[in-house]
Amino acid sequence: MALVELIKVTKQFGKNRVVHGIDLEIKDNEFIVLVGPSGCGKSTVLRMVAGLESLSGGEIRIAGKSVSHTLPRDRNVAMVFQNYALYPHMTVYDNIAFSLKMAKKSKNETDRKVREAAEMLELTPFLMRKPAALSGGQRQRVAMGRAIVRKPDVFLFDEPLSNLDAQLRTQMRMELRKLLMKMKTTTIYVTHDQIEAMTLADRIVILKDGNIQQVGSPIDVFEKPASTFVATFIGNPPTNILSGIIHKKNKAFSVKIGELILPVPSEQDFEDGQEILVGIRPDAIKAGEKILSFPESWRFPGEIIVSEILGGQSLIEFMVEGVNMIAEVEGRILECPGAFMDLGFDLNRMMFFDSITEKAIRKR
């Protein structure tokens, strides 16, 4: 239970700067997810909070106290590693009890806490086993047990689910969420998987090349991405990013993408002839009955290039007026490539980015 503050934190390995002055304030009991492609510096930030990497500049405070020069063991943080880092020569019991043993807690207290944690994680039947005799999911739970048993100020997770297979990952993700809701502890969670970020986080921090791209709630970063990078990184399939030119006619704006002309419905301020980037989420493109509620100018015939059926939905790559896009639509699209179908664009969800900086152009 603590506030964690990162103030102008930088990290350099030799001449290679991997974290460029990060400012971030993590509130008490908040669940923060650091997400970004590999090499974006997210794990380095996490390890700096843990004290496993030194800071090249800036400061980190936990509960108001600067910990920049505090040893990891004195920070009262617990970490779950990607490969779990369980001690292979110790039983599950001893693995969980190790931090308490190091803290010289009494045997009774240790025993009580270990059993409590094991109970919570349904590990009680496995307490006397060695990690080698456990399944992936059980090892994952032992790693969690080791972290929760000491009631730390901050939980740190370094891609904890990435070593599990897809089905188990979903299940463990939910368990993790339930557990952390019970524990009420400030948590920093690192992942490259945007689904984990969207489902777990109170706030998501998107990192790229050692810089923060955006901090916001999952809905925020999904609907109002701060840059084309965020727009394509969050959400699957990624946002269609298209370059276009603004046309102004009678105070109304429209954007011309290739030969496709889309009216701009919301109040935006553009110049005539301005080059911009337009983002359209695949799920903002509809087909079938849904499009009947759209104005005529939002509807276009698209030529199917290829379509995939994903159970209840379909992914379609199509071409409209010489522009290629991907749409995720309800229902099973059985038409063959080359066929035409009517598509409607939910233009209220259209996003605009500066064509040079690729940053979002916000509504007035």
Binding site: E53, S54, H69, L71
Partner: protein, 274 residues
Amino acid sequence: MIKRFSMGTLLLYGTLGLLVIAYLLPAYLAFVTALKLPGEITLPRSWDLPAEMNWKSFSQAFSLLRPNIVNSIILAISATFLSTLLGSLNGYVFSKWKFRGSEIIFTLFLFGMFIPYQVILIPLFQTLRAMNLYGGLPGLILAHVVYGLPITSLIFRNFYAQIPSALIESAMLDRAGFFSIYTRIVFPLSIPGFVVTSLWQFTQIWNEFLWGICLTRYQSNPITVGLAQLAGGQAVSWNLPMAGSILAAIPVLLIYVFLGRYFIKGLLAGSVKE
């Protein structure tokens, strides 16, 4: 980790420095003694640098030890070659052609590595005499090849365990048999294994003494026996044994310094199993 140039760092380098000096002292003493004139060598001044460099000790020691060095070179090269080759074939069978009982046989092989060789010395001596091989190099080579088999088989077995079985299986689907898989696939992949094993065997055989002294006559003595005789004579002044020691150490030290990586691999392979 938090970097601190503190007492800890100082203590670390200080301790390491002292230890390194302690480990290098014998080498230093051997060099300065070898470079001194016999008259200059006295016990109380044994650590002092020589007043003038006397490189003659080396040429003198070399001329005394030359027959032994020649013997050791012949011995080490031929025994290394044979035992490495056999070890490679054995390792290939033990790791890629396991059959019922092959693990037991392998364990029984390993036992041969750990016995005190005194226990086979008398029958070995008798057998070589009966085969008319006693006293010369061929007998010694035979002994080194046979008792080198466990360690060479072990190193190669562990080495071949790293070659994925899928490679062997795909070769089998391509209709390759036992020997063509070995010559076309396994052997070309095992050059590092051969380097490790042969360096290890070479140093072991070069350094060996017990069989050298028990199984060879004077004219076939290897370098270690020659050196022991040179150093054992009380009348000889100390510069000669020291120069001889350095000469005897040079081949293995060269291997160690320039191919140390492989030497250490052999060292670990001989003791840590998977």
